[in-house]
Amino acid sequence: MTEIFGISPQALLSQLLIGLVNGSFYAMLSLGLAVIFGLLNIINFAHGALYMMGAFGAWMGFTYLGLSYWLCLLLVPLAVGAFGIVIERTMLQWLYKLDHLYGLLLTFGLALIIEGLYRQAYGVSGQPYSTPELLRGATDIGFMMLPNYRAWVVVASVAVCALTWYVIERTKLGAYLRAATENPKLVQAFGVNVPFMVTLTYGFGVALAGFAGVLASPIIQINPLMGSNLIIIVFAVVVIGGMGSIMGAIVTGLALGVVEGLTRVFYPELSSTVVFIIMAIVLLVRPAGLFGREK
């Protein structure tokens, strides 16, 4: 059998696919961050905690209320989004005029509080959540056994990402949103309710995090620290893609998942660092990120 750098093509293909699965999570989370940063100018550090809330939401829905996975996939993002709207209305809206740093500090503090509360209530070992009946088992796709659930993750996240991109870049609503970021006063003067739109946008970005959390819950142990383990990488993804760029967040998220997957084969010790090395290089060469525009 021919080998590429000592690895069989089958193994390589399966690693690429796994990278793509992880990349889907990066893409969804960084997309939420990019939407929020692009339209609100808030660096939402609470994103990881909200992702964790999504995963816990699925677990709570099942454990306390007996709700199915599919119902949770619909309801939990709405609940997390609503929670986000409360945050935006009560706290964030006062910070838009100030430096980015204030929003970052506020959301970082919120993340610590949310995580602390969950840790207090559930400990850190986490809660198990089983894969929904329909998606159990694995399919033989020639070069590997692909767990059905992982395939579903890729499909669901690509669909959500594509839809988000379409709405923001190609519809009238998206045009209003983008116009409101460029010049809120002017758009307001045309009779568009800008603060309301901003609130909904934040709610939507946060709901994306909740959605990713529910998607992740059968794969990894649901614990209060799961968000903070992931959020730093996701921020690196956003920076590499270009702060605020929707397409940048999606493409970079998927691509970095794949790069990370390959690193895990060739030099596993580097796998948690490789994203940051790429970030450093990108910042040196293109400070605005791969898809960002210089302002």
Partner: protein, 407 residues
């Protein structure tokens, strides 16, 4: 008038040395009039379910069982979070020994923190009884006259689980190793045991601590075709490795060996996912009536069954207090001499002995995680497969590189 003043001065002059004498006699027995026990642990991070608040509860239970007083002096338990940072742990230990007059520090999980605190204990000439850390360095190159390594170590885990699995026919291994001192040491100790018993090691993959996803590491383990995939990691990393192994169907043709799995991990994974796994622990709450009674008492206070670390902290605190009582003082040297010369008999250990290198040797248990159908009541998780006798469970004293061992 003058006479009376002279008289009282004389009286007080005569009495004063008596008071001072009495006070210093008291001081000779118990310094500062109180015996303070510090529980230094991870209160909020990834190991906080293994030790954490539960350890503080266990230490307090030991104090209550002892009667709350030793040599007439009250006993106090304090606790703090070292956040898994060695420098923070060391400075907290120093502050406790120096300013807070803490007499003994226990728990000390996380090998990095444990080793740093051991060094402080030696400088301060105060006692540190390490229950939570795994590294054998504590009783080898980093041993001190003031440290005891109480519950378990990587050698005992490797020896228990590794040997048993090779004997059952699991003779080819692949390791999934956490890429830091603890993981490397656990991998090395287990690989040695596997080879010594006629097995072979086909390879290993080192993953970063707190890795976000294990599927790609598990695919590598899968393609190695090894019969056994040894998990030389801990806490959340172990949990997520096991979950991913189930998902990718690795457990159909290969078996997992959890090299450091605590009952809290099994609880959080659920039996469906964890079933069949072999592991080694120093304590299980459902071994006999005594452990069950302790387990239930602990459960009432902590809302979960005790881990090996919780039971170990209880036993370590109790042993320490018994040694203070027997020595008639809380002076560290006298208490250490008593600790090392008295066998330990309580709910945690039967005929446990603290060796000169600080290793507390006691029976270890080879356990297997039950199938969901076999579990009859909450926390009914393990079947006892074998009791590993104390003198076989730990690294032999003659192999210790501790400077206190005379050769």
């Amino acid at each position: 008038m003058f006479k009376r003043r002279l008289f009282s001065t004389l009286i007080s002059g005569a009495l004063l040395p008596m008071f001072v004498g009495a006070a210093s006699a008291q001081q000779g027995k118990v310094s500062d009039g109180v015996v303070k026990i510090g529980v230094l642990t991870d209160m909020s991070g990834l190991y906080s379910d293994l030790g954490g608040k539960g350890s503080a509860i266990a230490a307090q239970m030991a104090v209550d069982d002892f009667g709350g007083k030793v040599l007439g002096a009250p006993i106090q338990v304090i606790s703090a979070d070292h956040q898994n940072k060695a420098d923070l742990g060391a400075s907290k230990a120093r502050e406790w020994y120096e300013a807070e007059k803490v007499d003994m520090i226990t728990d000390l999980l996380n090998s990095g923190v444990g080793i740093a605190a051991a060094k402080v204990a030696e400088q301060q000439k105060k006692i540190a009884i390490n229950v939570g850390a795994a590294s054998t360095r504590l009783t080898n190159e980093d041993c001190t006259p003031y440290t005891v390594h109480y519950a378990y170590d990587t050698y005992a885990l490797a020896n228990g689980t590794g040997k048993a699995i090779v004997k059952q026919g699991g003779d080819s291994w692949f390791f999934l190793t956490a890429d830091y001192a603890f993981g490397h040491s656990l991998e090395k100790d287990t690989a040695d045991v596997v080879k010594a018993n006629g097995g072979k090691v086909l390879g290993q993959v080192r993953h970063p601590l707190n890795a976000s996803d294990f599927s790609s590491f598990l695919l590598q383990a899968q393609s190695s075709k090894a019969k056994i995939v040894g998990l030389a990691n801990a806490g959340g990393d172990t949990i997520n490795s096991i979950k991913a192994a189930n998902e990718f169907g690795l457990t159909k043709n290969q078996s997992l060996a959890g090299l450091l799995v605590f009952i809290t991990d099994v609880h959080s994974l659920g039996l469906q996912t964890a079933q069949g796994m072999l592991l080694t622990e120093g304590f299980y709450w459902d071994l006999n009536d005594e452990t069950r009674k302790f387990g239930k008492r602990f459960f009432d206070k902590a809302k979960k069954m005790p881990s090996m670390i919780h039971a170990g902290v209880y036993s370590a605190t109790l042993s320490y207090l018994k040694a203070v009582q027997a020595a008639g003082t809380d002076d560290a040297d006298a208490v250490m001499a008593k600790l090392k010369s008295t066998p330990i008999n309580d709910v945690f250990a039967k005929n446990g002995k603290i060796r000169v290198d600080g290793r507390m040797v006691h029976d270890m248990y080879l356990l297997q995680v039950k199938k969901p159908s076999e579990s009859k009541y909450p926390w009914d998780y393990y079947t006892l497969k074998a009791t590993i006798p104390a003198d076989e469970a730990f690294q032999p004293l003659e192999k210790s590189t501790c400077r206190l061992v005379k050769k």
